[in-house]
Symmetry: C2
Subunit: 189 residues, 2 copies
């Protein structure tokens, strides 16, 4: 077992460096996962996140119905999976997760999918202020209620990609399914 | 001259990969620059961005007074500068930009500082929906009205870090002034 709990007051660290994420959702017997490049932390403690989820997506429909979502951080080993879930809609393919090779477990707090092989998982509850920004800007604001990370690359409240396997590095979207992996450490002297 | 105009419908690409940014502000004869790790695109065309700016900062005060801001993408060569402007407040040091070694020019649309040596510049106007999310969540939403990028690493509407100088790579904040540079390309087969 490599996924270890992350203290909530350190959960914002999981997104500080700007990785592409997978957004998981579940409602009324439907479960979905999509890729989202536009996500960031919104607060430290309690931890909050902001993520842009287009109104045309099944994810948006499920998140608005349930009031919960998961945010997972995929790694280099999951680049194809990330492209796949970013490239087709759960509206068109009810079996999207199977088609895209997504293995997952249901988060204990929300029931939203936590994607196997991702290097971080967060379960989140949608915040009230979302009602002002969802319709005009597709922006979902949420509080993180539980978090885990892969202890091969995240420990003691921070990422350590420089000492972990290359294929566990996070993905950073450029355009059109191209990513950069997170790279070399630039630490203070 | 390495800073070249970026088409507005490609400006969201400048932040897709989640870099740390420098937020510039100007109002009533005061000018400031701060570092912000929590920034992301919000829309494609017209391009919009979201950035978290703490209510205690001079930047927040200036941005709320003027309704405009600049967002610059610093590079590895500017890691010390980025730490410096992230480490002290313009409230405490009216000469902060000089102290931190920030050379800048005033943006033509907004008068906000465009930091010399940064690999991308955007000028932005605050959006109306900000009034719902600034007070509760320190979240500023803005439309990008002009954009430039360094053609050694950004051309034809996308980043090309893999063929540019290492010290022009973007910075991605980990914690406490430590960053990762953006790394290797993970492109589709």
């Amino acid at each position: 077992m490599t996924m270890q709990p992350v203290l909530l007051n350190k959960a914002s660290r999981l997104l500080n460096h700007g990785p592409t994420v997978l957004v998981g959702s579940a409602h009324g017997g439907r479960t979905n996962v999509m890729a989202a490049a536009w996500a960031m932390p919104l607060d430290f403690d309690p931890p909050k996140v902001a993520v842009v989820i287009d109104q045309s997506t099944l994810t948006r429909q499920l998140v608005e119905s349930s009031g919960v979502l998961s945010v997972c951080v995929p790694c280099v080993a999951q680049a194809d999976l990330t492209r796949a879930v970013g490239g087709e809609s759960g509206k068109d393919h009810p079996d999207k997760l199977q088609r895209c090779g997504v293995a997952w477990t249901a988060g204990p707090e929300t029931g939203c999918p936590l994607v196997e092989g991702a290097i971080a998982w967060m379960e989140c509850r949608v915040l009230p202020a979302t009602r002002h920004v969802a319709a005009p800007h597709d922006l979902i604001l949420a509080e993180v209620v539980s978090a885990w990370a892969d202890d091969r690359v995240f420990s003691n409240g921070r990422w350590h990609f420089e000492t972990g396997p290359q294929d566990l590095r996070s993905l950073h979207h450029v355009a059109g399914g191209s990513f950069y992996a997170v790279g070399d450490a630039v630490f203070p002297h």
